[in-house]
């Protein structure tokens, strides 16, 4: 328990009069639209639980109005949660005084916003140094630090520009640099690239992956873009109408969607590029030759294509030195073929095993979503 960077248990956020009375009452079970009609309150976050490991990139993904932006704001109480438990690095955030909360925001958790939220009347360098400035860091020191961050995000030479002189992508680099400048343990991203052009968005995603490799911060990333979620997330939580429907690795979401909603979401994902051989391997049929090429079970299907092309023998799928099954050319073609009707693939037992072995505690919300 104590090892999680962020730990959320049964978090609720209901907007509206007397919101706290709804929790625990039968009204809490209502769908958001019914609740609004009945009480005038809007349930933006409903009984959400998850954990984020230190150094993990955790993506929360959902359509607009699913409550994901509210959820991320609840983490540092920019929006005050209505109920639930909330711990960052083991400390109870909901019990913090205003001063402790400020300290948390100043030093340990910082955020990147969809619409940047830069100060138009300040130069880039002063925007980046803003977080240090409000901590009371002296001018020379904070400028020095801001310049260092500037080069980290690739903005050298722009320190004396004003935000409006920069393109959208560069403005978001400033937003990113501002968040990094205070050297936080956790970075929160609220749809940071949604306002950017597709090409720039791709660059920025690569930037985040690079930064994560270099600085290794814990990241919570909000997005409505599935491909972005699959690209960045080590684990992804899918939100719908304020609740988390499923939490899992990209492979788990695509391979074993918890319900119709998730399945619908991942329908267009090229499965061969996300799933590994483990998901399509099967016991060898009698008489099938077992002298084909050997590949580890974790190999992405797409990457097994060259091996399958090189040999007409079925590929032998191996995990921990033992044969777990075979995959023939037909099996690979079946996975690459664009899906016309959904084939539910049941998760092999091994995957669940791998999950626990890797220490990734699957959130209870995911489990309850499956139930």
């Amino acid at each position: 328990m104590g090892t999680a960077a962020i730990e959320v248990r049964g978090l609720w956020k209901i907007f509206g009069p007397k919101a706290d009375r709804i929790i625990g009452s039968p009204d809490a079970e209502l769908e958001p639209a019914q609740l609004r009609a009945k009480t005038g309150c809007t349930a933006a976050v409903r009984d959400v639980s998850f954990e984020v490991r230190p150094g993990e990139v955790f993506v929360v993904m959902g359509l607009s109005g699913s409550g994901k932006s509210t959820l991320v704001r609840c983490l540092t109480r920019l929006i005050e949660p209505t109920a639930g438990e909330l711990r960052i690095d083991g400390q109870d955030v909901r019990a913090m005084s205003a001063k402790q909360l400020r300290e948390l925001r100043r030093h340990r958790v910082s955020m990147v916003f969809q619409h940047f939220g830069l100060l138009p009347h300040r130069k880039v360098v002063d925007n980046i140094a803003y977080g240090l400035e409000i901590q009371g860091v002296g001018k020379a020191e904070r400028h020095e630090k801001a310049r260092r961050i500037l080069s980290l995000v690739g903005l050298e030479g722009h320190e004396d520009s004003y935000p409006e002189q920069l393109s959208g992508g560069m403005q978001q680099r400033v937003g990113l640099a501002r968040a990094l400048a205070v050297d936080p343990e956790v970075l929160l991203f609220d749809e940071p690239f949604s306002a950017l052009d597709p090409l720039i968005r791709r660059d920025m995603q690569a930037e985040v992956i690079r930064l994560h490799r270099e600085v290794g911060k814990t990241m919570v990333f909000i997005t409505h873009d599935l491909s972005e979620a699959l690209k960045l997330g080590e684990r992804i939580a899918i939100m719908r109408a304020g609740a988390i429907v499923q939490v899992g690795t990209p492979e788990e979401l695509v391979g074993a969607p918890a319900d119709e909603y998730v399945a619908d979401f991942v329908r267009d994902v090229p499965r061969a590029q996300v799933l590994s051989l483990r998901w399509i391997s099967r016991a060898p049929e009698p008489g099938e030759p077992l002298d084909g090429p050997e590949l580890p079970a974790g190999t992405v299907i797409h990457d097994a294509v060259p091996a399958a092309m090189a040999s007409d023998r079925p590929i032998r799928v191996v995990a921990d030195g033992e044969l777990v099954g075979v995959v023939s050319r037909v099996d690979i073609l079946g996975a690459v073929r664009p899906e016309t009707e959904r084939v539910v693939v049941t998760a092999p037992a091994e995957t669940a095993e791998a999950r626990t072995r890797g220490g990734a505690a699957v959130a209870s919300a995911g489990a309850s979503g499956e139930a």
């Binding site: 540092t76 909360l101 910082s110 916003f113 619409h115 940047f116 939220g117 100060l119 501002r178 205070v182």
Partner: protein, 645 residues
């Protein structure tokens, strides 16, 4: 009028609709009933004016009591008198500083501030404008007016900006403050003066406080708006980094709101300059004194010159603050140039003070009063056929019949008519408020004078709104016409309100028509501007869609633009009426009589004080009534929207 509907296949909801009367029946029936009642009861239940009304005497007694106890009553001793003392100290301090600079010093400082605010252009405007005050021969009076204005502005901002920030941050405060400001802004300038005299006696202190109260609403309103409009994302970003409320206010909200707040300062100065000259009525020093004296003697030249001096001050201060509001921070070099220029210009002015003497040299002054009067005389002699014709047409054709109608109708009939009209236009609440206000005027014993003022307002607003509508539509439809009109309207909006009396007096002499013409020149720019903006705000996509169906320009205007600009049109009507009232009241200075004159007389004659005070209140009631009738319509949603809701 309405042909019988031909309905081959009646729509589903036809039965319900068939029983309803055509829309015109009720209003026509109302008008017919009103006319019948008027014919029946004409001349009965009228309320003729009585200078000896009990209320006036009672108010006089109250004034006498205040005068007698001014130095013994604790409220006066410990609160009111200190406020007066404080205000006169602020004025004395600012005036002392301005005088100490000497005229070259002050002109230099003005040029320096102009440079600081907007570069060499504004520096030149400031230099020429302030030097012009001396050239016109009104340097000392101008400095007094400037000192009064600055005192009032400083105090307005001192209270107005914090209050505005508070209102911008707290919706609850905003809900309390907004209606108060609404009423303050429709109160005609005159109605602020009488109570000030009661509390603070006559003189500069009273003038400063009255001006401060009059000029504060824009400071509060615009500051609140500016603070409220600061991007929520930016504020959230600041909070997410752990900024305290105070840090976010100082480092995010205020810097982002600063330019808009400067516009509030600009508006506050404009309001103060409208009020300060009028406070000469309560013995405030400055240009207003010369102006009022000349107006009383119908000496056009002697009134025009101090008027021009006030306009010069207004233009300089307006350009300066407007430039400051648009300023963007450049690099450190630009900053050095700005402050360097400021220092050089100010120092140059100060250095010249010992050389050029404190007094503005007489040989540099230009005598323009006589030539102006010659021109005025020439106009009177040669244009009389035209101006006299206009004057008589409006007086005999509109003013007199309407005034006869309103003063000979029973008071209850007029009140009922207002109630019904306001109800239909703006809903029941507005109708009741309007009727109660009118009854208040009757209760104050000022019915007849109130009806005289109302007559001028109605005639004036009809002319104003018609002209403003035509100009606004023309400007919205023709780019070049707008380009010509814009700067004229901008210039017109910088002028202090009473300055509009001067050209009207020059053309038409004294009288009600002059007041109406002044109101016309004063309010038309605003009406035209609001109409134009409203029409231009119609979304381009809607216009494009209408054009794609083959609408003519005329159809576009009548079927798309005007209906969609409904809110703006009503706002234009509201502004036109309220501004006409304000000007018609000031028109008392040029012989327009009625309630405005009662207020002025209250300052001149001891025994008329009570009547003047009551007239001030009556003006507020009339203002609220006229505003409610039109503003309610603005607030009410259009019938189409209502049906859907």
């Amino acid at each position: 009028m309405v042909s019988a509907p031909v309905q081959a296949a009646p729509p589903v909801q036809a039965p319900a609709r068939a029983r309803r009367l055509p829309r015109w029946v009720v209003p026509v029936a109302g008008v017919v009933a009103g006319v019948a009642l008027y014919v029946l009861f004409r001349g009965r239940a009228v309320l003729p004016h009585d200078d000896d009304a009990t209320l006036f005497h009672w108010l006089n007694d109250a004034r006498d009591w205040v005068d007698a106890n001014r130095n013994s009553n604790p409220i006066f001793l410990y609160v009111v008198n200190y406020l007066r003392l404080g205000a006169s100290e602020v004025f004395a301090l600012i005036q002392g500083a301005l005088v100490a600079l000497g005229w070259p010093g002050l002109v230099g400082l003005a040029a320096g501030l102009g440079w600081l605010a907007g570069g060499w252009r504004i520096a030149v405007v400031s230099l020429v404008g302030f030097a012009g005050l001396g050239v016109l021969g009104f340097w000392e009076a101008s400095v007094e007016t400037l000192a009064l204005t600055l005192s009032a502005v400083v105090l307005s901002l001192l209270f107005g900006i914090p209050l505005g920030i508070w209102a911008g941050r707290s919706p609850r405060v905003r809900r309390i403050v907004t209606p108060v400001l609404d009423v303050m802004q429709i109160m005609p300038t005159f109605s602020y003066l009488s109570p000030m005299v009661l509390l603070f006696l006559i003189g500069s202190a009273s003038s400063t406080i009255a001006t401060m109260i009059y000029a504060m609403p824009p400071a509060i309103r615009i500051t609140a708006l500016a603070i409220e409009r600061v991007s929520g994302v930016t504020v959230e970003a600041s909070e997410s980094l752990g900024a305290t409320g105070w840090q976010t206010l100082r480092k995010v909200r205020l810097p982002l709101a600063l330019n808009t707040i400067m516009l509030g300062v600009n508006q506050t100065i404009a309001a103060a300059l409208s009020m300060v000259p009028l406070t000469a009525l309560i013995a405030a020093p400055g240009l207003g004194e010369d102006l009022l004296r000349a107006l009383a003697r119908v000496n056009v030249g002697a009134a025009l010159v101090p008027g021009v001096a006030i306009v010069l001050i207004a233009i300089v201060l307006d350009r300066m603050t407007r430039a400051a509001a648009q300023r963007r921070d450049g690099g450190s070099r630009a900053r050095a140039v700005r402050w360097g220029g400021f220092a050089v210009l100010t120092a140059a002015g100060l250095a010249l003070t010992p050389v050029l003497a404190q007094e503005f040299p007489e040989q540099w002054q230009v005598q323009v009063i006589r030539p102006i009067n010659d021109v005025a005389d020439w106009i009177e002699a040669h244009w009389y056929t035209f101006t006299g014709f206009l004057n008589d047409t409006v007086a005999y054709g509109f003013l007199n019949p309407l005034q006869d109608l309103l003063t000979s109708a029973p008071w209850w009939l007029v009140t009922a008519a207002v109630l019904v009209f306001a109800w239909r236009v703006s809903g029941p609440a507005a109708g009741l408020v309007a009727a109660v206000c009118l009854l208040g005027v009757a209760a104050l014993g000022l019915w007849e004078h109130g009806m005289e003022t109302l007559t001028m307002v109605l005639v004036g607003s009809v002319i104003t709104i018609a002209a403003g509508l035509a100009l606004g539509v023309a400007a919205a439809r023709s780019r070049w016409f707008a380009a010509v009109l814009r700067p004229l309207l901008d210039a017109a909006q910088t002028m202090p309100s009473f300055s509009y009396l001067l050209p009207a007096v020059a053309l038409f002499g004294n009288g009600r028509f002059t007041a109406i013409m002044a109101a016309f020149i004063y309010a038309v720019p605003v009406v035209a501007r609001v109409v134009e903006d409203g029409l231009r705000a119609v979304p381009g996509t809607v216009m494009e869609a209408a054009r794609s169906t083959g609408s003519t320009d005329r159809q576009l205007l009548w079927k798309v633009q005007l209906p969609m600009a409904r809110g703006s049109l009503l706002l234009a009507a509201n502004q036109g009426i309220v501004m006409t009232l304000a000007m018609v009241v000031i028109g008392a200075l040029v012989g327009a009589g009625a309630l405005g004159y009662d207020v002025v007389a209250g300052f001149a004659q001891q025994e008329d004080y009570g009547k003047g005070l009551a007239a001030g209140v009556a003006l507020v009631l009339l203002g609220v009534m006229l505003d409610r009738i039109t503003q309610g319509a603005n607030g009410r949603r259009s019938p189409h929207k209502k049906r859907n809701a």
